[in-house]
Amino acid sequence: NLSEKFQGVLKNLRGHGRISEGNIEEALREVRLALLEADVNYKVVKEFTAAVRSKALGAEVMASLSPDQHFIKIVHDGMTSMMGGEAQDLDLARRPPVPVMLVGLQGSGKTTSCGKLALHLQKKKRRPFLVPADVYRPAAIEQLKVLGSQIGIPVFDSDPNADPVDICREAVRQADLTGCDTVLLDTAGRLHVDEELMEELRRIKEAVDPGDILLVADAMTGQDAVNVAKAFHEKVGLTGVLLTKMDGDARGGAALSIRAVTGAPIKFVGVGEKLDALEAFFPDRMASRILG
């Protein structure tokens, strides 16, 4: 982990009494390598280490900390603040039914996360409605229906031959009629470079005017995270991120990359396959995890 790797480097810092141009480069190099190994995007790493350098060199000497402790604090605090502020929930402060779109690459965990969010909302005494808007993947509609029945939440009976835009529009209408206040739209996995499918997302957004558009991203995602996040953000405007599979051992640097290129807050974290495996996002915990 970072502090272990740092020991040698930081001993050097400590020996010099304060952080200076001369002794900081080795420490910065260790930070850079640690972040790359954690899958933070190369360009984001460059920006981050530049910010750490200027902060560390410009910083006043902190009486209570030795230079190596001070350096680690700058790195950790810098990462935590880049991760975003306090945990945020869905943006539900508008006239119901509030549509929420879940979007992202194939296999990232959207359908499962829809089920998790439905349970989360039910626990908060809201009345969610699940909508299968994936008409392409075999048994995708069935998958969401099974999840809905596991937690007693109604699921729109999507027609697999219909246009997903019509499905979403019709489902919001039905939610309105049946008194459901939150509509969770499970969209098909798609490549950010698939123009037709990205256009489909834009049309869904236009048709239902969602309160939240969440990018569902796999915590194991590598350097490509920035390309994906940027493209989805530019096409539909992300209001939040849901990071899945955080119960594994991926360091999750993609979280920092996604945050850096979209500014969207990470709202939730998926920590397992069951529907109760959803947690709020804590920036400082994520920072520690990425730094190892």
């Binding site: 470079v193 590598g222 599979k245």
Partner: protein, 277 residues
């Protein structure tokens, strides 16, 4: 510095950056650049084109020994166990492989070994129908080993050539799930000596360094005889496969390049190297 002109340090830095962005990892990217710099300084690389060609050659040479198809052969049934973490494309890849085998005239049977995830069985049934394969499944929530056992029984009785066993996605960090998979391997081996002849690990090209941990852990705990790298039709380059190759010496059977039945290519080291940077 895009492809033409003399080499300088900037060009080397740019190539190192391109390799890192392709998920080759900082250490490996550094090693390649050190080797390239040495050749350049010895005057072996006159221009950027030569430099890029040399890098492509080095990468191709690393990966070429990993090109080998699944060795489907009698005695039948030839059993392929498909494993990997959640959402990487196991079920879809089984459909694609089944299609290839069907085109070659092999009778194929799919075993719906994912008895856990919602509609996993339904998903595999659609694929079985699409490719003209038999399928054995129980109810959702039933015991995965029991499905596997029944599938092998059925395959032997029907003269099936290839059995493709779908399994639930599992993170390599979940000891009880890895143990469940070891049990499935034992069940297979008891029913058909020598089986499974192929344990196929599916890796997702959009993953970063974690793919290497996945490969090492699955190989260590369960054994892996082949790899499929999926989702190369996106912008992720799958550079982690270079480290996977160094750390495990497992053949890469196929690459997945889309979601439909034909979107599977035999792994080709040279095309992979060309697309990497």
């Amino acid at each position: 510095a895009r492809g033409i002109g003399p080499v300088d340090e900037n060009v080397l830095v740019e190539l190192e950056e391109a390799l890192i962005l392709a998920d080759a990892g900082a250490d490996l990217a550094g090693e390649y650049v050190v080797a390239l710099r040495a050749k350049w300084r010895r005057g072996e690389l006159p221009d950027i084109a030569a430099l890029r060609l040399e890098l492509k050659k080095m990468i191709t040479n690393t990966l070429a020994p990993r090109m080998a198809p699944i060795p489907v052969a009698p005695p039948y049934p030839f059993v392929v166990l498909v494993i990997g973490v959640n959402g990487v494309g196991k079920t879809t890849t089984i459909g694609k492989i089944a299609h290839l085998l069907r085109e070659e005239g092999h009778p194929v049977l799919l075993a719906a070994g994912d008895t856990f995830r919602a509609a996993a069985i339904g998903q595999l049934r659609v694929w079985a129908e699409r490719v003209g394969a038999d399928i054995i499944h129980h109810k959702e929530g039933s015991d995965s080993s029991a499905v596997v056992f029944d599938s092998l029984r059925a395959a032997k009785a029907r003269g099936t050539h290839v059995v493709l066993i779908d399994t639930a996605g599992r993170l390599h960090t979940k000891t009880h799930l890895m143990e469940e998979m070891r049990k499935v391997v034992r069940v297979i081996g008891r029913e058909i000596p020598g089986a499974p002849q192929e344990i196929l690990l599916v890796l997702d090209a959009t993953n970063g360094r974690n793919a290497i941990t996945q490969a090492k852990t699955f190989q260590e705990v369960i054994g892996v005889t082949g790899i499929v790298l999926t989702k190369l039709d996106g912008t992720a380059k799958g550079g982690m496969v270079l480290s996977v190759t160094k750390e495990t010496d497992v053949p890469i059977r196929f690459v997945g390049v889309g979601e439909t039945i034909d979107d599977l290519r035999p792994f080709d080291a040279e095309s992979f190297a060309s697309a990497l940077f």
